[in-house]
């Protein structure tokens, strides 16, 4: 009897377990078929699409400005209705939003994220619209290539730049790094860069240079140095397999250079956890005299109170094997859940608000408004775009004409950066660039925190790690 009871009890428990499991499994199979993305039509029958990156309440003035633009657009194209969304691209939540189908129809991101997004199918194929609205033929092919995969286009690059070397003029003056005519001297090679940094440190006590070290920014920053030292990071063999090739003397020299900046010359800040925000803060609050970045850097003024006339941008220094500057920029993408009508609307808005092949009167006015706002906010307007977005020289001249009217910095501080032809612009590495940056972050951190580091071993390990953990996993 006792045994019977026990058996019954056990059966019951097993039964319940089974039921629970079945319920769970059933619910696994069901569900997840819900509607994704924004419905095409709103209650008034208008085609609606959402636009991310809308200014939130902390930025009331910009919000009002944008809202005005939205109202004007909706008046001009009355079949559309814009839903605003304050979502700003952020690695922490992007995947979830994209998978859940809650991305805004229109979102902006950076060049470094493009591959990941296209591979995972988080961006809509917009080839048709790029052709229709003239982007495909008018845009700089170098940029189009970045957003193209298997012949399809997935994004609209709207800002592009090459990296340069930012200099704090007032620190340089204090350090006596001035030519006879009063202009600022600047380094043109990485060796000179180290010398200048030493002078700054000796004369003012301020670290001469700040390099990023964390959150992939370390690797990203280091690419400029590495390429100029002749490092070749990867190669594709005849079988299509990618091989890591930076276990080389060039890489050792480049890493040794960073090591020397810290331990031989001692010209870097004490802090060794430096992401992009920290990087800008260190330079913007005059706690370092130089850093590698791209223009314009309005936030240095608006956020950290730096004087815009204290900044100067010069070409990236040359290394022993060349003078390479990394290309970067922003790209607009469209949610894969968007319907054709929504994509069309999103393009019309983008052309109205951001970028289009031909400049209309209205767009010129928009651009002027934007520049005026930047100046009102205390930001920087340069006399030209940082990069030739369009192939048509006349189109670029038009841009230059508009921005020249509003330029609020001395063009001399930027001329060398724009006009130096010895600099070669390079896009990111073809595959696994984010993974490579993470590996390089580790290398940079190690040489900056460990005086007794074995660079040979460090580089070999990094190369092998990158090969085994990332390149070998590619299909």
């Amino acid at each position: 009897m006792k045994e019977e009871e026990f058996k019954m009890k056990r059966n019951k428990v097993n039964g319940m377990a089974l039921t629970l499991a079945v319920v769970c499994m059933l619910s696994v199979l069901s569900g997840c078929g819900g509607k994704r993305g924004l419905p095409e039509k709103n209650a008034d029958g208008k085609i609606q699409f959402s636009v991310g990156g809308w200014p939130d309440d902390t930025n009331k003035e910009n919000q009002d400005f944008k809202n005005k633009r939205k109202a004007e657009f909706e008046k001009g194209s009355s079949e559309y209705s814009i839903v605003t969304d304050s979502y700003i691209y952020d690695t922490k939540t992007f995947t979830m939003k994209a998978n859940g189908g809650t991305l805004p129809t229109v979102y902006d991101t950076w060049f470094t994220e493009i591959d990941k997004i296209i591979d995972a199918g988080y961006a809509a194929d917009i080839t048709e619209y790029m052709d229709k609205y003239g982007f495909s033929e008018g845009m700089n092919p170098e940029l189009l290539e970045l957003v193209t995969k298997d012949g399809k286009i997935y994004g609209i690059p709207w800002v592009a730049y090459k990296m340069g070397l930012y200099i704090n003029k007032s620190i340089f003056r204090k350090a006596g790094l001035v030519n006879e005519d009063g202009s600022i001297k600047y380094p043109t090679t990485y060796d000179e860069l180290a010398e200048f940094a030493v002078t700054v440190k000796e004369k003012t006590g301020i670290p001469g240079l700040v390099l990023a070290t964390a959150n992939n920014n370390g690797g990203w920053n280091f690419m400029n140095i590495a390429w100029s030292y002749g490092v070749n990071f990867m190669e594709q063999d005849s079988g299509g397999k990618w091989k890591a090739t930076f276990d080389s003397q060039e890489m050792r020299d480049a890493v040794k250079y960073v090591y020397d900046l810290k331990w031989k010359y001692n010209v870097l800040p004490d802090n060794t956890v430096i992401d992009l925000t920290e990087l800008k803060k260190t330079f913007g609050t005059s706690q370092a005299a130089m850093f590698i970045a791209n223009p314009p850097r309005s936030e240095l003024c608006t956020k950290f109170g730096m004087n815009k006339d204290d900044m100067m941008l010069v070409p990236i220094p040359a290394g022993p094997k060349g003078r390479y500057a990394q290309m970067g920029g922003n790209v607009r993408m469209i949610s894969p859940d968007a319907t054709p009508a929504q994509i069309d609307g999103a393009f019309k808005w983008t052309m109205y608000d951001l970028i289009s092949k031909d400049l209309t009167e209205e767009q010129i006015k928009n651009k002027e408004d934007t520049y005026a706002r930047t100046i009102a906010d205390g930001g920087i307007v340069l006399n030209r775009l940082a990069f030739d977005l369009w192939t048509d020289p006349q189109r670029m001249a038009q841009e230059t004409e508009i921005s020249s009217k509003y330029a609020n910095v001395d063009p001399k501080d930027y001329d060398d950066y724009f006009n130096n032809d010895s600099v070669t612009i390079r896009p990111e590495e073809p595959v696994c660039s984010q993974e490579l940056y993470t590996v390089l972050d580790g290398v940079i951190q190690e040489v900056l925190t460990n005086k007794n580091v074995d660079i040979d071993k460090l580089v070999t390990t990094a190369n092998n790690d990158f090969q085994a953990n990332h390149l070998d996993n590619l299909e």
Binding site: K9, K12, V13, M16, A17, L20, G31, C32, G33, G34, R36, D56, D57, T58, N59, D85, S86, D90, K92, T93, T95, M96, K97, N99, G100, G101, T102, G205, I206, T277, K281, T285, S286, Q287, E299, T302, K303, F304, G305
Partner: protein, 289 residues
């Protein structure tokens, strides 16, 4: 010091007549002072930094105690961020989550501890395993909420608080410690199960409810990931705003500290205000026998 009034605890008045116990008492007192200092110095640092003028913030070397005070930092930070709205959102989030947390986990813990229907062991095992897993389920859960139409609403967050395996365990452990004799006595007096629950169990449970309340409130106050994912700009709570501010370009460092101060103040005030009640509630209960 009225040592002769100390009638409870490990050491009581009769012990404290001896010198070595007195010594022990004062040593403990000194250690506690030290610990409490460690706890509050970083917070004081925030307060100081929040009223430090910008130029002192970035001076080399920076000042520890500011030479001049700039209360405008607080004002500017508040105006820039319009915190009132986010505080209200936090309040709605916390209130709903608290109700669900106490109610669902409480009755679940009670059933598992006192009623023990068939299947209790199975559920206990499942609950325990649940505590061990995190991260695997994020995307599927997000998809679930999207499917159920929870994006932009508070209720998914409330319901999420309603299934907290740890709190279920906490309730169960607590109910386990209530002497069965109370319930037996009530049964003999002819009280129904429901009456037993409300007349005997609930009043006895105040300590554990208080503990869960504190956990629930402080967890929700700093809950960031899910509100960030689910709620729109008009509904986000303070913690999410904090995160957004960290990467925001137009907030200065001292203003950032001021904003952190704002995020500390309300719960601190609430806690100071209610702590007597909370602790009083804890000690007034009848578990002591």
């Amino acid at each position: 010091m009225k040592f002769n009034e100390k009638t409870d605890g490990l050491i009581n008045f009769s012990d404290l007549k001896k010198t070595r116990f007195k010594l022990l008492y004062w040593t403990m007192f000194a250690i506690l002072i030290f610990i409490s200092l460690i706890c509050i110095i970083p917070i004081l640092w925030v307060v100081i930094s929040a009223i430090k003028p910008m130029d002192e913030m970035y001076r080399v070397p920076p000042t520890i105690i500011p030479e001049s005070l700039d209360f405008n930092v607080l004002k500017n930070a508040w105006q820039k961020v319009q915190f009132g709205k986010y505080f209200l959102n936090s309040f709605i989030l916390i209130a709903g989550a608290w109700v669900c947390d106490v109610f669902f986990n409480g009755i679940c813990g009670y059933a598992l501890s006192r009623l023990k229907p068939k299947g209790t062991n199975l559920i206990m095992t499942l609950l325990f395993w649940t505590m061990l897993i995190s991260g695997i389920s994020m995307v599927p859960l997000y998809e679930t909420f999207v499917t159920l139409g929870g994006v932009g609403h508070f209720w998914p967050l409330w319901l999420q608080a309603g299934c907290n395996a740890f709190n279920v365990m906490l309730f169960r452990n607590f109910f386990n410690s209530i002497p069965m004799a109370y319930i037996e006595a009530a049964r003999i007096d002819g009280l129904s199960e429901i009456k037993i629950f409300f007349k005997i169990i609930v009043p006895l449970s105040i300590p554990v409810i208080m503990v869960v309340t504190i956990f629930s409130v402080s967890h929700q106050w700093s809950n960031f990931m899910w509100p960030y994912l689910l709620l729109g700009e008009d509904k986000i709570p303070v913690a999410v705003k904090l995160f957004m501010i960290d990467s925001s370009e137009n907030i200065m460092d001292n203003e950032k500290m001021a904003i952190m101060l704002f995020s500390i103040l309300p719960p601190a005030i609430m806690y100071c205000f209610f702590s007597k009640r909370i602790m009083g509630g804890v000690s007034m209960t009848g578990i002591k026998g």
